[in-house]
Amino acid sequence: MAINTEKNSYTLMFAIGLVVIVGTLLAAVDSSLKDKIRVNKLLEKQQNILYAIGINENEGNSVSFISAEKAEQEFQKYITKQIYIQNNNVVEDDNAYLIDVKKEKALAKDPNYSRKLPLFIAEKDEKMLYVAPIRGKGLWDAIWAYVSMDEDMIIQGIYFDHKAETPGLGANIKQRFFMDDFIGEALLDSNGNFKGVNVSKTNLDPKNIDKYDNEVDAIAGSTITGDGVTAMIRSDLSLYQSYFNNIKNN
């Protein structure tokens, strides 16, 4: 073949050919896998929410979600209603669990925008549970959680996750020993004021026997991640308090 590979015209044609082939190939792969990826993201949210209300396959001391096959079913079974609160209105929305908390927080920086606050209502063992997604900043990057509470805003379950916290330190917010500490913790104080839960290094109750002290033991070496957790609970969960007051008054 006597192609002169040095000619500019050839270079141009080659480049165009390459772009076309690569573009087509990638678009094909992306569109064929897109649905599966979307399903994965959805499933993950469902598994997280189910975990927070106590539906999981935990064994020993490790965290184990309900399996992907069962997740969708269990989600339909336990989550009876999905709503979001915006602008003092409560709106029912079956896809409220897809609301992007990160986007809402960004939009809320504009004082004219009223943030959508999703809430998932579940019924389990004849108890009503309310799950709220919250999001905050850890040491390196974002941290988030799904918190389930009863109508007195006492935590019934919680699931933490993070993007880039240090493994073995900040990343331990995903461990059972940390998450389990939150179960039963009261978010309000005895007067009904919102106090949240403080991840504290000076906690005098390491075995977490007192559930009304609004404190849990911090993880050694993860001060800033712990502070992020405290702040996230305070800033995001407090926004739901009026909803709960309203339920109790009705």
């Binding site: 080659f14 690569v22 990826i37 001391n61 073995g168 330190l169």
Partner: protein, 214 residues
């Protein structure tokens, strides 16, 4: 194996020891170190690099005679980038949890010097089959180091292997922990990966004296 001549077999075995991409050629360090805190991540990264190098070397070898020299580097980068994007999408679809840990580092396979290095040094001047062997040989060499580092870091850092506790339970204090053994959390931090690789180099050169620098 009748399929591989002696020269061909060398293409696979050399990178496993004497011509190891990480410890001898000093390539591919970047993406290797930050993700080796878990054995599973190391293995997935190795398999991804294996795929990209195997297919990549073959593709480059196929088009080596028709690539205009002016845009040679860009073409190589495009091929690698395309393969990496495919790997990334496949991971997100079939191993979602893992893809979150590996996220940025999968992208860094593109600038993984090993791949470009082998394209330039070998695939651009050799036939399909030999380029393929060279590619997977170097990928194996890379994988060996990654797996060794991942093995020690996970074992000593969290007492697990592939997520399964093997030394007992640190919270219930069973197994080795009953004797007061504690996980060396330091191992989970990335600087330790460098030190472990340094030790591997030490051991390797002590055994193959010809690799020692002056």
């Amino acid at each position: 194996m009748g399929l591989l001549s002696k020269k061909d077999t060398k293409l696979i075995t050399d990178p496993l020891s004497d011509n190891n991409p990480i410890t001898v050629q000093v390539l591919g360090i970047c993406s290797a170190l930050a993700i080796t805190a878990e054995l599973e991540a190391s293995v997935v990264m190795s398999v991804s690099v294996l795929f990209v190098m195997g297919v990549g070397n073959v593709v480059i070898s196929m088009i080596r005679n028709i690539v205009p020299s002016k845009i040679r580097i860009i073409v190589q980068l495009t091929v690698i980038a395309t393969l990496v994007i495919i790997v990334d999408l496949v991971l997100k679809a079939f191993a979602y949890e893992l893809s979150k840990t590996l996220s940025v580092f999968i992208g860094l396979i593109i600038t993984n010097c090993i791949i470009m290095g082998r394209f330039e040094a070998f695939a651009l001047g050799n036939g399909l089959w030999r380029s393929f062997l060279d590619g997977i040989g170097n990928a194996f060499g890379y994988a060996v180091i990654l797996i060794i580092v991942g093995f020690f870091r996970e074992l000593l850092g969290s007492g697990t292997l592939w997520g399964i506790p093997v030394l007992g339970d640190p919270i219930d204090k069973t197994g080795l922990y009953a004797f007061g053994y504690e996980n060396n959390g330091f191992m989970l931090l990335s600087p330790m990966a460098l030190i472990v690789v340094g030790i591997i180099i030490w051991v390797q050169r002590a055994r193959s004296k010809h690799l020692i620098e002056e």
